[in-house]
């Protein structure tokens, strides 16, 4: 399968919900993304793998529209929900206030906040300030926030970070649901063994380039790990 992705159609001919085409991104003259082309259609979950500094976070930020590509283009057909390295939440507000605030901005009924808090298991903590939350609770709230308004595109950067086993199970369930409901998901994670079952394709990044992009097929975590090392070593 070519890294350029021109001949790649992971889920039939469905129209991609998000597409990066020949994307370059420079920071102070240094190329962090180099000619990356990647698409995700309805019902696809693309796993982004790569060592630290491979450009995964930058790619997700470019796809989200938080960074402009220096060259190339990004197209989105739908709203974006994102879980990033930073929680994107206000510490001084309670969990419920955070969700209600972002619900208002997205034109979503603020009542949805209560449903999402229950979904990520934070309903009993709804009236507590985020500043008092543990890392895992903040991550769960960030996931709930990303799901506000039921966005067509989900971009998840290390979403398992800080989550306990129960929360990982909840996240997998949410990802399965998102896939079933025709959402496009791109997820960057080093803890990919837990995610493998919901993934439809794997994109390998290294040095800002898309080194390979393949359907997951029947591969499990160990096989993807082997392939990851092979790709990084130039195989």
């Amino acid at each position: 399968m070519s890294a350029a992705g021109a001949d790649f159609a992971p889920v039939g001919d469905r129209r991609p919900l998000i597409a990066a085409e020949g994307v370059w991104r420079f920071f102070g003259g240094r190329a962090v993304l180099r000619d990356v082309t990647l698409v995700a259609g309805a019902g696809e979950v693309v796993l982004l793998l790569g060592p630290n500094g491979a450009g995964k976070t930058t790619l997700l930020r470019v796809l989200a529209g938080l960074l402009r590509p220096s060259r190339g283009k990004v197209e989105r057909r739908g709203r974006v929900g994102m879980v990033a390295h930073h929680s994107m939440l206000y510490d001084a507000l309670t969990a419920e206030e955070n969700l209600r605030f972002f619900a208002r901005l997205r034109g979503v009924e603020p009542e949805r906040a209560g449903e999402l808090l229950a979904r990520v298991g934070l309903e009993p903590r709804a009236r507590q300030r985020v500043a008092s939350f543990s890392r895992g609770m903040v991550q769960r709230l960030a996931i709930g926030c990303a799901l506000l308004g039921d966005p067509e595109i989900l971009l998840l950067d290390e979403p398992l970070s800080g989550l306990d086993e129960v929360s990982v199970g909840t996240l997998l369930e949410l990802l399965r649901e998102s896939r079933g409901r025709g959402r496009a998901v791109l997820v960057a994670s080093h803890q990919f063994a837990e995610l493998v079952e919901v993934v439809t394709s794997v994109a390998y990044l290294g040095g800002g380039r898309l080194l390979a992009w393949e359907p997951r097929g029947e591969r499990g975590g160990a096989a993807i790990w082997d392939r990851y090392r092979e790709v990084l070593s130039g195989g």
């Binding site: 529209g65 994102m82 994107m88 939440l89 206000y90 001084a92 507000l93 972002f102 901005l105």
Partner: protein
Amino acid sequence: MGEGARAVWAIAAKDLAIEWRTKTAFVSALAFAVLVLAVLYFARDPTAVASLDVAPGALWVTFSFAAMLGLNRAFLLEQENRALDGVLLSGVPRPAVFLGKMLANLVFVGAVELVSVPLFILFYDVPLWHRVPELLGVTAMATLSFVAVGTLLSAMAVRTRFAELMLPLLLLPFLVPPVVGAVQVTARILAQRPLSEVAGWLKLLAAFDIVFLFLAIFLFEATLEE
């Protein structure tokens, strides 16, 4: 309510709710205002300088520098956990983000001014009550000027390494025209002189408001680029 107006209101209400809860900027601004008014009052020799001669300058030094403390905090709040990214991801139009932040800053600065005025009257014993509408007018015009520019520069400064130092450095040159204008107009108001004597300054304040409000809205998007 339209999408943009809803976002403006939501952002301003969120900022004010956080400030109400923490009160960090307000308490600092108020302490600063009391300090400046007191220092300038006690520095004056009442047998040599009339309080009316010092009062307008003292009032605007207090207002503008106290406001800076609040302006500094406006975008530091958004840097925490990169919350601004969440706002931008919501698809809110960029000008609505700016106007929401500016509205919160206006309310903040207005509140600081409101609490500072009784202290100002107490220290300087100036005849303020006769011309309240005029004084409110000039205060509104000058405050809008430096809050519009200050909100924009706060968004720029927050991305620099020494954000809290950078804002005053960037903002001070822009503060000169509105603050000098406001001092001139306030001096005439306190001296019971007609406003026609300072028509030129009033026009400058109005022009500054219009030009910098639109310029700030237009340039805000550029400050969001990394």
